[in-house]
Amino acid sequence: MLAWRVHLTLIAAALIAITAQGTAVAGGSAPQRINLHVDSVVASDTHEGVDKRLAGMGRRLHLLFNYSTYRLISHQDGHTECGQMISFMLPGGRILHIQPREVDGDMIAMELVLFQGARPLMTTDLKLKNHGILIVGGPRYEQGMLIISIGADAEQSGRTRSTPTSAVNAE
C-alpha cells in the first residue's frame, strides 16, 4: 500500500517537473533573429522644429533634450542573429557595431561598440527591451549634437533565419 502511494507521488512529481522544464525551455528558446533600427539625428538650437520624418521620435527627443531643432540624417535597418555582429556607418566617420547575444524573455542582450574611425569611443553591454530604444548622443556634428537612436526587435522563433544584412542609409 505504501509502495503504491510512493510510486504515484513520484510519477506525478516527474510529470510536473518535465512539464515545467519544457515550459522553461520553450520560453528560453524564443526569438533569435534581431531587427535593428538606427536613426542618426542632429540636434541644434536653430529653431527649425522637428523633422517630420522623425514622427513619434520627436516627442521622445523633446522629453530628453532641450534643443529646438531635430533633423534626421539617416535611417538604417539591419537584420542579424544572436552572436553575429552588424555594423552601421554613422555620420562623421563614426561606426556602430552591434552584436546581439541572446534574447532573454522580453529583453535583448547585446554589446554595442561605438568607433570614431578606428578608435573605440564606447563599449557597453546591455539588455534592451524588445521594441525598445536606446539613445547614444553627445558627439558634435555640423552645427549641433549627434543623437543616435538604436531600436531592436526580436522576431519570433521558427521563422527563416538569414545572414546579417548590411544597413542601408535612408539618405
Binding site: 506525478a12 530628453l64 532573454d104 573605440p120 539588455k127 539613445i135
Partner: protein
C-alpha cells in the same frame, strides 16, 4: 451446652469448615444426639452443592483458540455489500488523500520553479538596485551627470521602467552621462566630445 437454636446458626459455617476447632467439636457432639440438627445440616449441604453447581462457569477455550473460533465465525457471516463498499472506499480515500497531498506539494514546487525560471523573474532578479535613480531623473534635459571616468569601467543599471539595463559601460571619454527618462523609460548614454587639445 448449646441448644438447637445456637447450633442451628453454626451449621452453615460448620458445613463450610469455617468454625474454630472447639466450635467444630461442640457442633459435632450436638449433631451426634440431635436428629433435627443433623437433618438441617443435610439440607444445608444439599443447598450448598446446588448453589455451587449454579455458580460454576463454563470452561472457556484458550485465548488463541477462542480468537480463531471468533474469526472463523465472523468469516462465515455475510457482510452486506454497503458495508463492504464503505470499508473499501474509506481505505481508498485515505490513500488518495495522501497521494493528492503529495501531488499538491509537487505541483507547488513546480509552479515556484516555473516562476523563478520565467524571464520576468530573471530580469527582476538580475536588475541591480539603482541608487542613483532620483539623482539621474533630476538631470533630464541637462545631460551633465557624470557616471563614468576615463579608463575606469563602470557597471551601472538604469532604473525603474527604463527600456535598457546596462551592465557594463567603458569609454575613454573623460565624462560620460547616463540617465533614463522616467516618462517613457528611454535610456540615454551621453558621450560629449573631448575638448580640442
Amino acid at each position: 451446652m448449646a441448644d438447637c437454636s445456637e447450633i442451628g446458626l453454626m451449621l452453615g459455617p460448620f458445613e463450610d469448615g469455617e468454625l474454630e476447632p472447639h466450635e467444630m467439636q461442640e457442633v459435632a457432639r450436638h449433631l451426634a444426639r440431635c436428629n433435627d440438627c443433623e437433618k438441617l445440616l443435610l439440607d444445608y449441604g444439599i443447598v450448598g452443592r446446588e448453589l455451587r453447581t449454579l455458580a460454576s462457569q463454563p470452561a472457556l477455550p484458550a485465548p488463541e483458540a477462542f480468537a480463531q473460533t471468533v474469526d472463523a465465525r465472523i468469516a462465515k457471516l455475510r457482510v452486506p455489500w454497503r458495508r463492504r463498499s464503505a470499508l473499501a472506499f474509506r481505505g481508498w480515500g485515505e490513500q488518495m488523500g495522501a497521494a493528492f497531498a503529495s501531488m499538491a506539494l509537487a505541483a507547488t514546487a513546480a509552479v515556484v520553479t516555473i516562476l523563478l525560471l520565467s524571464p520576468a523573474a530573471r530580469v527582476y532578479l538580475t536588475r541591480q538596485p539603482a541608487a542613483s535613480l532620483a539623482r539621474l531623473e533630476t538631470k533630464v534635459g541637462e545631460p551633465r551627470q557624470q557616471l563614468a571616468s576615463a579608463e575606469s569601467p563602470v557597471a551601472v543599471s538604469t532604473p525603474g521602467n527604463s527600456e535598457a539595463i546596462i551592465s557594463r559601460l567603458e569609454s575613454n571619454i573623460p565624462s560620460v552621462a547616463l540617465w533614463s527618462e522616467p516618462q517613457d523609460g528611454t535610456t540615454v548614454i551621453w558621450l560629449p566630445d573631448q575638448p580640442q587639445q
